[in-house]
């Protein structure tokens, strides 16, 4: 929060973060730390984070998957949860889990540079660099595609050896910058 006008009250969400005791435990185990605060009242709240770009994604009963670092704010009508994604998260250096947001309302997510939405249709799959991935929603199947061969081992790799490939119907949001991940191939 950088500023507000009107009447507002700010309340830190309890340690369960509205996900119940079980949800909080899952979150702790997953390392998807997220501390939300609840704002109620009348007026305007101004939110900002290090001058990064903010993308608003409207959700109508569907689920948005996003890295917890990229979550800025969400409507009270949305629930958060943790989704285990297995190997996929390793590519981004963010661990084995991702945050899911579901319900009706708008989620505000952060990206380095304005995010670009890329629609996926069954005919043409979309591949995304893990370092540029921000979020996705819709009926999407996500695979990790590796193109690791002997050249990669020799340090002569293409630099794009690990990609996320999406099949199905949905939208994937990417940022025009690559965050430095743990896995550099």
């Amino acid at each position: 929060m950088v500023a507000y006008d009107g009447e507002m009250t700010f309340k830190r969400q309890g340690i369960t973060g509205g996900e119940g005791l079980r949800g909080a435990l899952r979150r702790r185990v997953a390392g998807e730390g997220i501390t939300l605060m609840e704002v109620t009242g009348h007026g305007t709240v101004y939110l900002a984070d290090e001058a990064t770009e903010i993308t608003l994604i409207p959700l109508r009963g569907d689920t948005l998957f996003v890295e917890s670092d990229s979550v800025m704010a969400l409507d009270a009508g949305l629930q958060t949860g943790v989704q285990f994604v297995g190997l996929r998260g390793m590519g981004t250096g963010q661990g084995l889990a991702t945050t899911k947001i579901e319900g009706h309302g708008t989620a505000a997510i952060l990206s380095h540079g304005p995010a670009i939405g890329l629609q996926v249709t069954p005919e043409i799959p979309l591949s995304v660099d893990p370092h540029a991935y921000v979020a996705h929603h819709g009926q999407l199947r996500q695979d990790v595609v590796t193109d690791v061969n002997w050249r990669t081992v020799l340090g002569q790799g293409s630099g794009e050896s690990v990609q996320f490939r999406y099949h199905g119907h949905g939208v994937v949001y990417v940022q025009p910058a690559e965050r430095s991940g743990a896995l550099e191939i």
Binding site: L118, A132, E160
Partner: protein, 250 residues
């Protein structure tokens, strides 16, 4: 504010997707691209290091820079490719039988109609021929005409004009203090006493900031020449580097 959303059909082909991303359409063709600048692609595209066997003849005829070969890949296949770089402004330029020199870290991709060579100025690459290339700049690009002196960090590149020479402010080198500075590399730097001096006819490209990407090529070039120095030279360099590191910490 709504997020621009594209599909495989509506994603701009060989044009800017936003100020910060560029779409390249591949129809069985090939593009050279700098490693790690691809953020997404539709369709079937493969990325190969320049050392890959099938690329031999392409690399032999279009890529003449062993120093930077490690940083480049070739994208081939069919589909649409999205390029971006650190959230920098991205622009494409067309060369028509021209020549243009550009900072190596800022060149994102080029068509094989162009031929890449290493510039005489360290850290810069020269493109020759006809085709399109994509470059990144921190802030919009400014086109200026020589004669002009530009800050080395703000320089993006130049086209059609002779290579620049170094220009140092005379007052900075003069006197005992100046001598001490030259010998030790320490003290009293305003950061603006050294410029690149352009003369002749042509165009100079500048970015509106002094942020440059860390360039692995320059480091490799220096490392490659260490062998020429001999023991005394290495010791001297060691001292200079120690002093510079100390100054950076202060």
């Amino acid at each position: 504010m709504s997020t621009p959303t594209f599909s495989a059909a509506t994603l701009p082909a060989n044009d800017n997707v936003s100020s910060y991303a560029f779409g390249v359409e591949l129809n069985g063709g090939r593009w050279f691209a700098q490693k790690g600048k691809m953020i997404a692609y539709y369709g079937q595209i493969s990325f190969e290091a320049l050392s890959a066997g099938p690329l031999d003849s392409l690399v032999a005829s279009h890529f003449h820079s062993p120093l930077y070969a490690h940083d480049w890949i070739v994208a081939s296949g069919s589909g649409k490719l999205l390029l971006a770089d650190r959230g920098f402004d991205v622009n494409s330029f067309d060369l028509d039988d021209g020549n243009l020199t550009i900072r190596a870290g800022n060149l994102l991709a080029f068509e094989p109609g162009l031929e890449l060579k290493q510039s005489i100025i360290p850290g810069f690459l020269t493109l020759l021929g006809t085709g399109r290339f994509v470059a990144a700049s921190n802030g919009p690009v400014h086109f200026v005409e020589p004669p002009i002196r530009v800050d080395p960090q703000a320089l993006l590149g130049w086209a059609d004009c002779p290579s620049p020479c170094h220009h140092y402010d005379h007052s900075y080198m003069r006197g005992a203090l100046g001598t001490a500075r030259m010998l030790t590399g320490l003290g009293g730097q305003s950061g603006e006493e050294h410029q690149f001096d352009f003369t002749g006819r042509g165009t100079v490209l500048m970015q509106s900031s002094e942020t440059v990407a860390a360039d692995g090529g320059l480091l490799r070039q220096i490392e490659g020449q260490l062998g020429l120095l001999g023991t005394s030279g290495l010791q001297r360099l060691h001292q200079t580097i120690g002093a510079r590191l100390q100054a950076e910490r202060d």
